[in-house]
Amino acid sequence: IYISIMHSFAEFDDAANLLAANPDATTISIEEPADIPKNKHGRGQPSGREEDDELLGTDDSDKTELLAGQKKSAPFWTFEYYQTFFDVDTYQVLDRIKGSVFPVPGKNFVRLYIRSNPDLYGPFWICATLVFAIAVSGNLSNFFIHLGKPTYHYVPEFRKVSIAATTIYAYAWLVPLALWGFLMWRNSKVMNIVSYSFLEIVCVYGYSLFIYIPTAILWIIPQKVVRWVLVVFSLCLSGSVLVMTFWPAVRDDNRRIALATVATIVLLHALLAVGCLAYFFDAPELDFPAPNIPVHNGTAVITKLQ
């Protein structure tokens, strides 16, 4: 995995060098609305700049960039201010979900899909769906695992919904907050080319959690191997989205800090997946009719393989 990640970083480096060599083609910081018109010019370049165009993404609407300068002008106590965070259409949300599930090496999720129009719809409802997917799948999986046992009495385990909700919403909002604070702090020390706003980070984290929804549903299958394969697979996909988003933001920093940051991001993501698997899904046991084995000499050994 390390080698493939470094390879994709190399590709990204090449693209970034092309960008740096052509200063009036693009802006790299996407925080300032005043920089947006320069992006428009970038798309008028001859087709030799295909990599730049692909990096920026040409297929999405131009008018979101034009309007980006007018966004967030309402004061924060009015309803219109919050409406600017829900200014997405159905196809945009579906595109962003697709981009989080199929990460393309070298393409930055934020640059390609969000592009100064971060939305709160995706993160909020993906987290809500994930909470209920984990709770319902965990309940179903425990039901099927314990089904044949005579002493088993089904319980809906509704308490776990609140625990799942707290965990997932805390992860989806507090970790971006911490990461944003950390990046701002490093930005004040080292001049990074790429910097993200808090909402963009929340957006990336929210959409990267989408892959865990089908994973949670597939975790109903009571096979340990299957579950761990799913964990690794989904971690690779969503982890790579996060890594490719945040590597350019810390790349110019001290090498060790950059690597430590990226490693922490992936580690927290893995911890979430493994923690949910361990807490909500009971371990599948092999089918030994344990209580019915007649005891000889009181030394029957009942093994429960975990």
Partner: protein
């Protein structure tokens, strides 16, 4: 005072002929200047303070009942939207929460939802969905949306009633299959009914974004109903 002298000058200069005729006396202003306030008799028709209590209650009950009928046979009528009320949703929510009590192990940690949890899920869920649709640019008002979402819980309350009756008869596999089918049918009915009422007020390229949370909301309620296990 001043205005009188001004009018006096006006009369004297512009109607000099008339002034000559009336021998320079002022022309008095005549007529009533009282503006008629809204006539008292229509107010008496709308004032419901004096009618018997039974009439008041029957009128509200009839309005709630009419809305129940609208939900069970959803057509695009605006009666549900225009005259919103929250009595029906409250009654449905309380009865659903009460019927979800008495489940297995509800005194232990891992039982079914408590009364307060059901209440909070239904009302908080409805508020969040309403806010979501308004933030996405919907034109429906806050309480109208709450009213529709609350009333559309009616098919699921009926499903809960049926489930409890089936569970009295049998709690085996056949009973489970019957309950599953009933809950599925009522879940579809609830979602379609509320979508029929709410979808028109959304911008056309965001309809799916508004319908999905409604689907999730009724799915969660259906899950609570389906997993109800008696003691």
């Amino acid at each position: 005072g001043g205005s009188a002298s001004r009018s006096e000058r006006l009369v004297n200069t512009q109607f000099a002929d008339l002034a000559d005729m009336s021998a320079s006396e002022e022309i008095p202003v005549e007529g009533e200047i009282t503006v008629p306030v809204g006539a008292p008799s229509p107010d008496e028709d709308f004032s419901t303070l004096d009618e018997p209590v039974r009439e008041t209650i029957m009128r509200d009950l009839k309005a709630v009942g009419k809305k129940f009928v609208h939900v069970m046979y959803p057509k695009k009528s605006s009666a549900l939207l225009r005259d919103w009320d929250l009595w029906g949703p409250l009654v449905l929510c309380v009865s659903l929460a009460l019927m979800l009590q008495g489940g297995s192990a509800d005194s232990k940690e891992d039982g079914g939802p408590q009364f307060a949890e059901v209440f909070v899920i239904i009302w908080f869920g409805a508020v969040v969905i309403t806010l979501n649709s308004k933030l996405l640019g919907g034109t429906i008002s806050f309480f109208q949306s709450l009213c529709v979402l609350g009333y559309c819980v009616l098919p699921l309350t009926v499903a809960m009633l049926v489930c409890r009756l089936v569970l009295l008869a049998s709690s085996g596999t056949v009973g489970f299959v019957v309950r599953l089918l009933v809950v599925l049918a009522m879940f579809a009915w609830s979602t379609l009914a509320s979508t029929a009422f709410l979808a028109d007020s959304q911008p056309p390229n965001r309809k799916a974004l508004v319908v999905y949370p409604i689907f999730l909301f009724y799915f969660v309620i259906s899950w609570m109903i389906l997993t109800f296990m008696p003691q």
